[in-house]
């Protein structure tokens, strides 16, 4: 076991941190009162840094990274926060379309793929699918699809003759309509309606489709949980800085013991979440499906519970300042809440963990 970063990992982190600092620090990209445009050039920049192929083998032109590298990258993105759905159009999309010959174009950032799995009313259940395929035409509705408007194509889950499958559908295909909006954290997202839209191809079906959805979603959850760690670390740092500089009743707020202890608890929550994300990354790299799913759910649960705790404490300790759109604390809070409601919230994953938990024979 070796817990220190390799030179390659360190370089990766520094690269992403520099990108985030250059492009996203101090900007008001998540000011909800302005409409957030999607900047394709940022997406291309991510590609230029090699982040599109992070999990792809080196001989396929990728970085050859695994879940640990994914966690490192996502945490750095979280510190922005960066309103690009890396978890969706890179991590999940990559797992869904693996081996479809779309690799090169995705790697360059030229082809933007949006997974469209969740359906309205399904809550967090990706298996609840009523979109159907008949004679190469797909019909149904998908909800909260990141970059729906901006993507070049969708990967859509649907039933064909009762069997689950994954289908590629062009954004501009006839019968595809998108209602676009920004989410509470300023990420471009949309509702997708498919009315007898012509599919481009079937990617997978049956067990294989299910497997891609499950493992892809679990990788994406690691990215989301680690992004949450980045948000939490940033909030913890902001709060420490604020309390150290801001005076009340003639002394710095950081001098008040109650706030000191609560800051310590925030910091502990950050470290705890970072640890459980590493556990999930370790399991995702090696163990069986049950162990993977269990550890990923533990990470997503902790990210949800601790994320809310840290966000609420940060805003509270900032006082009125934390309540404003202008001050960055709110951005992280909004991002954390959207992470929480993506691919299963804390209760959903606590339930999954609980079902998969090892128990003695009765």
């Amino acid at each position: 076991m070796d817990l220190s970063l390799s030179d390659e990992q360190r370089l990766l982190v520094e690269t992403v941190e520099r990108f985030v600092a250059d492009r996203y620090s101090g900007t008001d990209h998540s000011d909800l009162t302005k409409d957030a445009p999607f900047r394709r050039e940022d997406w291309v920049s991510l590609a230029e840094l090699g982040l599109m192929g992070l999990l792809r083998d080196e001989d396929m032109g990728g970085f050859g990274g695994g879940p640990i590298e994914l966690a490192l990258v996502a945490e750095s993105l979280g510190r922005g926060p960066v309103p690009l759905p890396y978890w969706s159009s890179v991590v999940l999309a990559g797992a869904l379309v693996d081996g479809q010959g779309m690799g090169a174009a995705m790697l360059e950032g030229e082809l933007l793929v949006a997974p469209a799995l969740l359906e309205p009313g399904a809550r967090y259940d990706l298996g609840s699918v009523s979109t159907t395929v008949e004679e190469q035409r797909i019909s149904g509705a998908k909800t909260v699809v990141p970059l729906a408007e901006e993507a070049d194509c969708f990967v859509v889950s649907a039933l064909e003759a009762g069997e689950l499958g994954l289908y590629l559908v062009g954004r501009n295909a006839e019968g595809v309509s998108v209602r676009s909006y920004q989410t509470q954290d300023g990420v471009r997202t949309g509702e997708v309606v498919l009315e007898k839209a012509l599919i481009e191809s079937r990617i997978a079906s049956g067990e294989e489709a299910l497997h891609r959805i499950e493992t892809g979603a679990d990788l994406a959850r690691i990215a989301l949980a680690s992004e949450a760690v980045g948000c939490m670390a940033a909030l913890s740092g902001l709060t420490e800085e604020y309390l150290s500089t801001r005076k009340q009743f003639g002394r710095p707020l950081a001098g008040f013991q109650v706030l000191q202890h609560r800051m310590v608890e925030m910091r502990m929550a950050v470290e705890e979440t970072r640890s459980i994300v590493l556990v999930a990354a370790r399991e995702a790299a090696g163990s069986g499906r049950t162990e993977q799913a269990r550890a990923v759910s533990a990470a997503k649960t902790k990210a949800g519970r601790n994320g809310r705790h840290v966000a609420e404490e940060a805003v509270q300790m900032h006082g009125g300042m934390g309540m404003t759109m202008e001050y960055p604390a709110g951005r992280y809070m909004r991002r954390l809440m959207m992470i929480e409601t993506t691919l299963g919230d804390a209760d959903y994953h606590a339930g999954r963990f609980s079902r998969l938990m090892a128990v003695p024979a009765a």
């Binding site: 809550r123 259940d125 909800t143 509470q184 109650v258 706030l259 509270q316 934390g322 809440m337 409601t341």
Partner: protein
């Protein structure tokens, strides 16, 4: 001790309920029920309905238009209005400016200011907080310098709720810089139309314009707009804090929101059943309902024990538990709507929106309300300050 409502109290409850349903327009109550934003006109319309019924200023002395109600009646009044989705009453005129004017103001001030507060014809806002002061109110630096029969005021107030609607602002200003912080403060009423006043919006993290910065640049205010004695403003402000606190726990509002939460959890489907039938989520609602049942009784114990000003530490407890429960409600509602809470739909929260919402109607306000209500444990003396005050009282 008799913990049941008397027939008279039940009759009063029915009277309030009937008033709410008949006199407050359904369109306004529907907005409240659906978590939509209210406009100035909505608040004014509701206020005028109360005024017509003689119920717009129940806490005032009877001779000035108040109601001779017991504490239990006030509790019933608040609860029934909240349950009927009547908008919360804006307290700045009726419950903040007026009590100080009534207690410490001149006869001329009473005659000039109280009637339009009672009738709803003039809107007030509060000028206490300043940038950088936080809970340390007494460190304020807005200066008022006497110049003949006027004060010249320079400085800045912040977190001023709904200043964009206000006709008048009551301010704490510094009239003496040579003495101890608390001793050089005066309480002044300022016409918002006076030249030199600028109101700038602060956007809160839900994207909404609710609070403001108010700048004063050589603003001339007649000396007769000072309430009471010069440099006694801190005393008057403290009087405010100990006044009328029946509603501080906001039990009625939380009951209303508990109903909203249950309704949403009944509509939402999870794993093939209603979310409210998920044992884990249902348990969370149950724990919250128990908290609220206890809070309601604590509220009754506090307000009924002392028919008069509420002891500071008990008011603090009600504030703390009240806001904890209110915030917990916003959390559970956000959890209940799940991913449907992600789309940001500010237009759909507003007044003139007739298009269909993205996702269910009830999901629209979930996240913004959660974000917005983080304020409740910060303003009006943060929950931390409340605890410090209670500890001081407890430990002597």
């Amino acid at each position: 001790m008799d913990l049941s409502y008397t027939p008279e109290e039940e009759a009063f409850r029915a009277e309030v309920r009937a008033f709410a349903i008949e006199k407050i327009p359904e369109a306004i109550r529907d907005k409240v029920r659906r978590g939509r934003h209210l406009e100035k006109a909505d608040f004014v319309t509701a206020h005028k309905a109360f005024a017509e019924r003689g119920w717009s200023v129940p806490g005032w002395p009877e001779e000035l238009g108040g109601c001779d109600w017991t504490a239990v009646q006030k509790h019933i009044f608040d609860e029934e209005l909240a349950l009927a989705s009547v908008p919360g009453r804006i307290p700045f005129g009726t419950n903040m400016a007026a009590p100080v004017i009534i207690e410490f103001g001149s006869e001329a001030q009473k005659e000039r200011f109280l009637p339009p507060i009672r009738s709803g014809d003039e809107w007030w806002c509060q000028g206490f907080s300043e940038p950088g002061a936080g809970s340390d109110l007494a460190s304020l630096t807005t200066r008022a310098v006497l110049d003949g029969d006027h004060y010249i005021i320079n400085g800045q107030k912040t977190w001023t709720t709904l200043a964009q609607y206000a006709d008048w602002i009551f301010c704490l200003v510094r009239t003496d810089t040579e003495v101890k912080q608390q001793e050089g403060i005066s309480f002044i009423l300022i016409d918002m139309k006076t030249p030199g006043i600028t109101v700038r919006p602060i956007i809160l993290l839900d994207g909404r314009h609710e609070v403001n910065e108010v700048f004063f640049e050589d603003v001339r205010v007649p000396v007769e707009n000072r309430v009471g004695e010069e440099n006694k403003g801190w005393t008057y402000a403290k009087h405010l804090l100990s006044h009328e606190r029946t509603g501080i726990a906001r039990v009625g509002h939380s009951k209303h929101q508990l109903g909203v939460l249950k309704q949403i959890a009944t509509s939402e489907q999870s794993e093939g059943r209603s979310l409210i039938d998920d044992p884990y989520f249902r348990a969370k609602i149950a724990e919250l309902e128990m908290d609220l049942m206890a809070l309601e009784m604590t509220n009754l114990r506090v307000i009924a024990a002392a028919d008069g000003p509420t002891p500071l530490e008990q008011a603090g407890m009600l504030k703390i538990r009240g806001t904890e429960i209110q915030q917990r409600l916003t959390e559970l509602i956000m959890e209940a709507v799940g991913p449907a809470g992600q789309p940001y739909q500010p237009e759909a929260l507003g007044d003139r929106w007739n298009e269909p919402t993205i996702g269910p109607d009830y999901a629209v306000p979930a996240a913004p309300t959660y974000f917005n209500w983080r304020k409740s444990s910060i303003y009006g003396g943060s929950n931390e300050i409340q605890k410090t005050i209670i500890a001081k009282v407890m430990l002597g």
